[in-house]
Assembly symmetry: C2
């Protein structure tokens, strides 16, 4: 069985295409209102003045300093329901991966009863979401094309994975990613780069994901090792292609170990992957060498010694979280992954980070 991959309905790509948002939404406005969820880093910035909100619409500046929580989704849903009676005509997320995830989750939870925490898992959503639009201002995670919204709930960190999660519309305007701070720009892009290295070298892959993954990797190289005047455009496409490549592929060693770091130390996804990847020469020799060339070119100093104060117990927890992600290890190392990667080897790697 091959996954029947659900895609975004409509995409606009182009410098300045954000200006078309008003037209795009006009066609979807019925007699209700639109909800704009905007990353609060844009509060008071030029972009927030360009949001095409009309009278009666609701604009909420969302905070994503921490990765999105189901409780936060529930409170946003309550806020939207309190704004006016009836459902909005649409929910528009403007921001990085976390903001896009919030927009997806809110659009789903406006039509589905209960708490977002009830739907963490696979295909638990039964009722289609409100029309929802994603507008990335940061590129690399692929959140603009994915069928998940990664949420931290009371008992687990797990996405709402569903065909209904996928955006109805995406607006890809490379001008919007121009002002991202260098570190964030680098680590978010590395999420795409490392993902593609892992999936292309993995054992689960077919020509669909390979075509997308190879091109995403090439675009990352252009962005982080070369100098192109349209490198923002290329990074935006790398993220999109990287996201599409997940259809028939799986991540590997780096993502497994990065989850462990995140669980115990709360390290964010992009930077966590970068920290781990630098220790994976044995698994991805060419990818790691190229990654180091990127670090040097962009002048990024990776955090070091982040595990030095951990107790043995914490290191064991970290190791167990990583070890538990069997599909990732199998993709990377084959059926016999446990002999190649016993827990002690994982723990030893963590000690060095």
């Amino acid at each position: 069985m091959f996954r029947n991959f659900r895609m975004i309905s409509s995409v606009v790509f182009g410098r300045g295409s954000f200006n078309q948002l008003d037209d795009i939404l006009s066609a979807k406005r019925k007699d209700a209102f639109m909800v704009f969820l905007v990353d609060d880093v844009f509060k008071g910035k030029a972009l927030s003045g360009r949001v095409p909100a009309k009278e009666g619409d609701l604009t909420i500046f969302v905070n994503v300093d921490d990765e999105p929580k189901t409780k936060y989704v529930d409170s946003l849903v309550a806020q939207v329901k309190g704004h006016a009676s009836g459902l909005p005509d649409g929910v528009i997320g403007i921001g990085g991966g976390s903001t896009l995830d919030l927009a997806k989750a809110v659009s789903l939870m406006l039509t589905n009863p209960g708490s977002a925490a009830d739907y963490q898992g696979w295909d638990l959503i039964k009722i289609p979401a409100v029309y929802h639009v994603g507008i990335p201002t940061l590129s690399g995670t692929g959140a603009e094309v994915s069928r998940t919204t990664v949420l931290t709930g009371p008992t687990k960190k797990l996405g709402i994975n569903s065909d209904h999660t996928v955006f109805d519309q995406v607006v890809l305007d490379p001008e919007l990613i121009a002002g991202v701070p260098k570190d964030q720009w680098f680590y978010t892009g590395m999420d795409c780069y490392i993902h593609c290295v892992e999936s292309l070298q993995g054992t689960f892959l077919n020509a669909f994901s390979q075509a997308y993954g190879e091109k995403a990797l090439e675009l990352c190289r252009q962005v982080y090792l070369e100098d192109w005047p349209d490198s923002d455009d290329r990074l935006m496409m790398a993220s999109y292609f990287g996201g599409m490549s997940i259809a028939y592929s799986q991540v590997g060693v780096c993502h497994a170990m990065s989850y462990g770091l995140a669980f115990v130390l709360g390290v964010h996804h992009g930077i966590g992957n970068s920290i781990v990847f630098d220790y994976l020469d044995a698994f991805y020799p060419e990818g790691v060498a190229e990654f180091r060339a990127m670090l040097e070119k962009i002048k990024i100093e990776l955090p070091r010694n982040i595990t030095k104060d951990l107790t043995e117990e914490q290191l064991d927890t970290m190791t167990n979280v990583a070890f538990g992600l069997a599909p990732l290890w199998e993709n990377a190392l084959g059926k016999d992954w446990q002999t190649v990667m016993p827990k002690e080897r994982i723990k030893e790697l963590y000690r060095r980070m």
Copy 2:
């Protein structure tokens, strides 16, 4: 203004994925019937026995020796309407680009009144189509992803271009393209190759179309110049990527001149492009050189001297048809294309073919 590009809702890719068609359709069956439009080259062949038709469904073997006509679409629609009262639950096209175009057109004309000829143009369709599925058995044209269905009507050859034309579901099973005759396999693939050469070298292009176009070209090279065990998979992805690359790009000299050949001599699209391209060294030197290497590797003999019996009047008609396609020339040669490409130069090229 950038095009808001409408995409297929769902895609399955994989060897043997045709076997999932029954499951996919089951989820869409209400209380009506399914209509299968199958290229009649498969009549009596193994594939026709694998079509998951149930009692009450309608299977029509369609003939696409000539490119699809609006009259043919109208007669197929009448046949479907005569089969049972009410609309079918879906229309499934199984075949090459022409069969897929028929399936798109029939699904549109089941819900929209009048003749298919009334809708040749851009965005004339107002009512969404019946759920429709495309299953290519030939790769290169990109018909599986496009928003058009190319039809010959009483007064013009022009597609029904509409967001509603786009398939709801595509099943990409590389096993289905295994038995295509060599010439057809080559010329259909060249439709993709030449299209990408033209669009990548054109003046209308952005990073979205460039990423898709470059990868499509690379996949074509792998298929026609190298030897890969999964070359059918790669060709299927080349076609898909080539189709996606049209979003923000335009074809050029070869397509313009190929339309002229088609108009006067009825030359089919894929072979017409190949015949023309071999004379375009001055415009696409690298592409033409590589194309000739492909001809040699695959051992294809291009038809020659096809214009030798044409009258001056016929050559003039051909030239005028080509010359009239201003956007294609402008994409290839810039605003001043008429000085680079006066009618006499077009006619002279035709004389040599």
